[in-house]
């Protein structure tokens, strides 16, 4: 019985964006079909994983997430190097958690100095992420852009409320902008237009649709990302034809289900494996919908997702 495989008529393509610079720069995007639909289109650049590094020792992480980074959590440079040397990180995401005005409230100057040190110490692309506080991020990320001139950082989150000033600094010092919107396809498109109008060149723009983990609303991100990809690939919506960055690790590891010890809830199984699987499975869901860069935490979850990406792409040994 001859099978006539029904194919989707794709009319658009996700833009290819080069992240970082030098030999270890990473190119993302370029898809001409839905994720891993390789029987009807191309996925020239497989999704990549950026490993998280915090600029201050994390206070609320469960033991399972801290253990792989024992000894380096008070030194972002050592931490980043460990991610690259020991865990094979292809990208690093420096989370500037210490700048949170409701927390340590460190100054823009201090944060930028740390970002510079990390950027100088590594040769993989570096994402620098603020705290989503518009006033503080404006101060901090602008300073980061300036101090790290020439480092081709990826700066985020850039939101509607702070896009002008952070966007202008990113353009000025040639960093990539992550346009971040709250789980809404229309807002995402609008911010991409605004950043375009501001003068952010297409090749320096990626988007963050705002994601969450399993059990905490992943279905919203899931469907918004599917709709974004649909519009980009089948409706030629050029303003949505951008690679998607998902800042996932911190969402998964803050939920209570990764913190409950097995002794308190035997039916939940081993706490370490549970956390790893919640992160890896959440990442897999997002891969199904078009994630190009996943920001993740646990090395074991990252290994699982890397292998799953290779398997989905049919690139296993």
């Amino acid at each position: 019985m001859a099978l006539d495989i029904p194919k989707v008529a794709y009319s658009g393509k996700i833009r290819e964006v080069k992240l970082g610079s030098g030999a270890r720069a990473v190119t993302v995007g370029g898809e001409t079909a839905y994720p891993f639909h390789l029987f009807e289109g191309a996925m020239p650049n497989l999704p990549v994983i950026a490993m998280e590094v915090y600029d201050a020792p994390p206070a609320e992480w469960p033991e399972a997430a801290l253990e792989p980074f024992a000894g380096v959590t008070d030194d972002p440079v050592a931490w980043a190097k460990k991610c690259i040397d020991d865990y094979g990180a292809e990208m690093i995401c420096l989370q500037l958690i210490s700048t949170d005005p409701n927390g340590l409230n460190r100054s823009a100057e201090e944060a930028a100095a740390v970002a510079k040190k990390v950027a100088d110490a590594i040769d993989v692309p570096l994402i620098v992420w603020g705290t989503a506080n518009h006033d503080k991020d404006t101060e901090v990320l602008r300073r980061v852009c300036e101090v790290c001139q020439g480092k081709s950082l990826i700066i985020g989150p850039v939101e509607e409320g702070d896009h002008k000033k952070i966007g202008a600094a990113a353009i000025g010092y040639r960093h990539t902008v992550t346009a971040s919107t709250p789980i809404d396809i229309n807002l995402a498109k609008q911010l991409n237009i605004l950043l375009g109008n501001l003068g952010v060149p297409d090749e320096l723009l990626v988007m963050d649709p705002t994601v969450s983990g399993i059990g905490y609303g992943i279905e919203y991100a899931y469907s918004v990302m599917e709709r974004i990809r649909m519009a980009a690939l089948t409706q030629q919506d050029e303003k949505l034809q951008l690679p998607l960055i998902c800042n996932l690790g911190k969402e998964v590891w803050k939920c209570k289900e990764v913190k409950i010890p097995e002794a308190d809830a035997p039916a939940l199984g081993d706490a370490r494996k549970r956390g790893i699987l919640l992160e890896a499975m959440s990442a897999t869901c997002l891969l199904m919908t078009g994630a190009d860069v996943l920001i993740m935490r646990h090395p074991e979850a990252i290994r699982l997702v890397r292998e799953t990406i290779a398997e989905l792409a049919g690139k296993t040994k």
Partner: protein, 448 residues
């Protein structure tokens, strides 16, 4: 493709007899097309029309049931490729593999674990629903004995796995009244397995290498009178299995290709020997179109995330998950504990209760029914305003649980504080933080 109202109208008697309860045949046709009426309401429709309409209205992916009673598993019946288009209908069943070569003690341990893996979430009970019994020994008597053990020790729905028709027959005999899924019919054993399925009214897995051969097999099974079919394309790599899931679903929905219009079964248990990776592979098939997912074993740390993921993906996007209205205790609150108020959107509830727990201050959380809307949306929609909140606070009984009269409302509902103080005489309204993440710090300042 489904018929339009006009196409249906042409098949109706056009007498406007009103016996269907609708004034005209045209109106009835429109109601049929919209799925709001059933053809059986028309007493005069011709047999020819009935046949045509039944053919056109048959679901593109057959819904079928495995097992019996309240816990029977319904799969298939899907109508869309993407959940935002409508919703996914029947969540994939999760199956735990048990081999008939396992020792009794191992089988019992698995059955025991299977029972324990139950979780309450937003008022729903999440649990896996299948045991896949594999006839690895090749011995019919041994298989039957193992099936007997599962029937005795568990009320799970059963998949019988063997390509040897005699082994399968022995298994069916041991659990025919549980309506097991027979796995699998192949080109070689098709005649015998089809007979077995018909005699016992059991659904059957059709297994063939590749989708073309699979289509031939399901066509032959259909001709042999087997209707309830589950598809196994034989793929045991993630790449091929994923591709097959997409093509099967699309062929059925877009092309109305009947030979592939059935739910599917996938076997992550045969794609890797790494326990964690198997669970991650399974998570991909929860999202992309599996009807049944067979795992080599169940552990809480893998089954719990899969069950929650499944609930998330299969949530109706038009109807947010909601938790029930009432007083929720967090920690061990007493008469001096803080009282916080929020809405019943499930995510809001999860986040807020999580943050209160993180703050380590035992509290009462009042959850107001806002039809599943979040704080800001509910407030904007007038469902989380003073004259809706006050009656709830009065009748929920919180006044009997605490000595103080302080109510902490979400920062985003600050505009309601004046109205609430009017509507709730004697209560002091405190405006809490706008962001849930700031609740722990806020609670540290609490004084009754």
């Amino acid at each position: 493709m489904p018929l339009t109202g006009i196409e249906i109208f042409k098949l109706l008697p056009k007498t406007n007899c009103k016996e269907c309860g609708v004034p005209t045949c045209l109106a009835f046709a429109m109601a049929l097309a919209a799925g709001k009426a059933s053809l059986s309401q028309c007493p005069h429709v011709s047999q020819e029309a009935q046949a045509k309409l039944a053919e056109a209205s048959a679901p593109p992916i057959l819904p079928l049931t495995i097992g019996i009673g309240k816990r029977a598993l319904k799969i298939g019946g899907e109508t869309v490729m993407f959940r935002h288009e409508k919703r996914f209908e029947n969540p994939p069943g999760l199956a735990m593999l048990i081999s008939d070569t396992l020792e009794d003690s191992q089988v019992n341990a698995r059955l025991e674990r299977f029972k324990q893996l139950e979780y309450e979430r937003v008022g729903l009970t999440l649990r896996p629903e299948l045991i896949a019994l594999k006839g690895e020994s090749g011995d019919a008597a041994r298989f039957a004995a193992a099936v007997g053990k599962v029937v005795q020790g568990s009320d799970a729905n059963i998949i019988l796995m063997s390509e040897n028709a005699e082994v399968l027959a022995a298994g069916v005999k041991a659990c025919a009244d549980r309506k097991p899924l027979l796995c699998a019919a192949t080109a070689e054993n098709m005649g015998q397995v089809a007979e077995l399925a018909k005699q016992n009214s059991c659904p059957v897995v059709a297994r063939a290498p590749g989708l073309e051969k699979l289509s031939e097999l399901t066509t032959r099974l259909g001709q042999a009178g087997v209707k309830d079919i589950v598809l196994d394309s034989g793929a045991r790599t993630v790449r091929q299995a994923f591709e097959d899931q997409v093509i099967i679903r699309r062929s059925a929905l877009v092309k109305k290709f009947r030979p592939l219009g059935f739910p599917t079964i996938v076997f992550p248990c045969e794609m890797t020997s790494d326990e964690l990776k198997e669970a991650v592979i399974a998570s991909a098939f929860v999202a992309k179109y599996a009807g049944i997912i067979v795992l080599s074993d169940f552990q809480g740390h893998s089954v719990f995330p899969l069950l929650v993921e499944r609930m998330n993906i299969y949530t109706d996007p038009q109807r947010p998950l909601a938790t029930s209205e009432g007083i929720y205790q967090i920690g061990i609150p007493d008469e001096n504990s803080p009282v916080l108020l929020t809405t019943n959107f499930a995510l809001t509830y999860f986040l807020i209760s999580g943050y209160i727990e993180a703050g380590k201050v035992s509290s009462y959380l009042l959850v107001k029914d806002t039809e599943g809307l979040s704080v800001m949306t509910a407030w904007a929609a007038g469902k989380f305003v003073a004259d809706a909140i006050a009656p709830f606070v009065k009748k929920c009984g919180i006044a009997d649980k605490v000595k103080h009269r302080k109510l902490i409302i979400p920062g985003y509902a600050a505009a309601e504080s004046g109205g609430l103080e009017e509507e709730l005489p004697g209560w002091q309204i405190l405006v809490g933080p706008r962001e849930g993440a700031h609740i722990p710090a806020y609670l540290k300042t609490w004084k009754p």
